[in-house]
Amino acid sequence: MKPLAPISNAARVALGILFFVLFFAAWGYATLGGYVSKTFLADPLTMVEEGWLLLSKHGFLADIAITIWRVVGGFVLAAIVAVPLGILMGAYKPIEAFFEPFVSFSRYLPASAFIPLLILWAGIGEMQKLLVIVIGSFFQVVLMVAISVGSVRRDLVEAALTLGARDRGILLRVLIPAAAPDIAEILRLVLGWAWTYVIVAELIGSSSGIGHMIIDSQALLATGQIIFGIIVIGVIGLISDFLFKAANHRLFPWSFP
């Protein structure tokens, strides 16, 4: 193998699939071969079977739907405020000086540690789930957007100035379009993190959702269901990532090679 040498598309897909095949083979070998106790780890076949039961008999699709709704709802709420605030912080240094220390501090507050407080404040309803996600993603988005807007190429701003752009023009027609692909990338990244928060929120105080199903399955020692739940989360994450990337390519064709 030569460093950085490209490979064909077919080889790339084949290698990617090969990993999953080996992964399931190793898992199957360990469990079906009797090397690992069924109590601790279900075999792949049981996992698929229990997953099918979950979907067909136990209304797991409703759980999936409600979890997706929570993630998207909380994430959109956070982004609606965080993106404009981040843009203003990146563009205007006094606004940045005002908010930055607090936001940097808040960013390190673990969203999951707020769950007990949020249960006190907002109960165990939907509002509490949404708030966990908002707290978990808001500050991250603000800071990263501020950095991306603040690091727009200075010479582009100068070129715009010599072409007669004033403050508003610089903000609306240079800083925002220049940072837009970065901002879309940031949202894609943070959406991935929001998935972690929603599951944690559902594990602690919830009567529905993927996280709730997982904690219920633990009580029943149904490791197959737990693994199925985790795989469903992974697949949804993969799909949302793919959709986000496709949207970015359509929206910002100029920023991709």
Binding site: R153, L156, L161, T162, L163, G164
Partner: protein
């Protein structure tokens, strides 16, 4: 009549972390007449780009003042179009939209913008690339677009900061002819910064030679070659004489710059 007056303009950059301040430019005075093409020739780091940036309003003189049409320059503005050494086309806009950028900031209606941008793209030979994005263009094409973008705005003066510095020799020669052709037709006032002696002579009606840092004006040479100028001019005896003279002037400065 003088279009641009640079009077005793100097620039000192404050010291970094308590270090001594850097004197980038000693007080210089330059007068650029209306419709004049003046090149500023100097070794790297002589403060020639700093001077141009101050004319553009992107940097502020430590002393002295700059007057354009008798008005003091304080901020950047559309009356001073600038072409940078780095590629500064807006990557999210097409070539035509880039050329129309300044017009849009001025509030020119879309149809009018399209017409003017089209004219300028025609003049720099890029009509076929109007709908391309900058990343799809070669370096020479990008700089042609940048020149069209600056001129579409109808600036009182065009400032160019080593615009062809990153291009290969052949492309650079073609770009010089293109720019000169535009100047011969439009007779814009132009201030052009370069470290390339041939380029400085070929384009200019006057060459201002600067010393190594801190930059001062070392000499001023009038270039009395007839227009329109053809590339074969570069091999003429008169051109060679000027080149020899400027080479002598700039060489001692380059030696100083290299040994520091």
């Amino acid at each position: 009549m003088s279009k641009l007056l640079i009077e005793n303009v100097s620039r000192t950059f404050p010291g970094v972390r308590g270090g001594a301040p850097t004197r980038a430019l000693e007080p210089v005075s330059i007068t650029v007449g209306d419709n004049d093409f003046v090149t500023i020739l100097g070794p790297s780091g002589c403060g020639k780009s700093t001077l141009l940036r101050m004319v553009a309003g992107l940097d502020i003189p430590t002393t002295g003042q700059i007057l354009l049409d008798r008005q003091p320059v304080a901020d950047p503005g559309p009356d001073r179009g600038m072409v940078f050494q780095s590629y500064t086309l807006f990557p999210w806009l097409t070539v035509a939209e880039n050329v129309a950028f300044g017009l849009r900031e001025k509030g020119v209606p879309a149809a009018e913008r399209g017409r003017i941008a089209g004219e300028w793209l025609d003049r720099v030979g890029l009509t076929a690339f109007a709908e391309h994005y900058p990343k799809q263009l070669s370096g020479g094409m990008q700089q042609r677009t940048a020149i069209a973008r600056a001129l579409a705005n109808e600036p009182a003066i065009l400032l160019l900061d080593e615009p062809f510095g990153a291009l290969d020799n052949q492309t650079r020669a073609l770009m010089q002819e293109l720019l000169l052709g535009i100047w011969e037709r439009e007779r814009k006032t132009v201030l052009f910064v370069t470290h390339d002696i041939e380029e400085a002579i070929f384009l200019a009606s006057r060459v201002v030679v600067m010393t190594a840092r801190p930059g001062r004006i070392k000499s001023e040479v009038t270039v009395d070659l007839p227009h329109p100028r053809h590339y074969t001019l570069k091999t003429s005896p008169e051109f060679s004489r000027l080149k020899a003279q400027l080479t002598e002037d700039i060489r001692s400065e380059a030696v100083l710059a290299a040994n520091r």
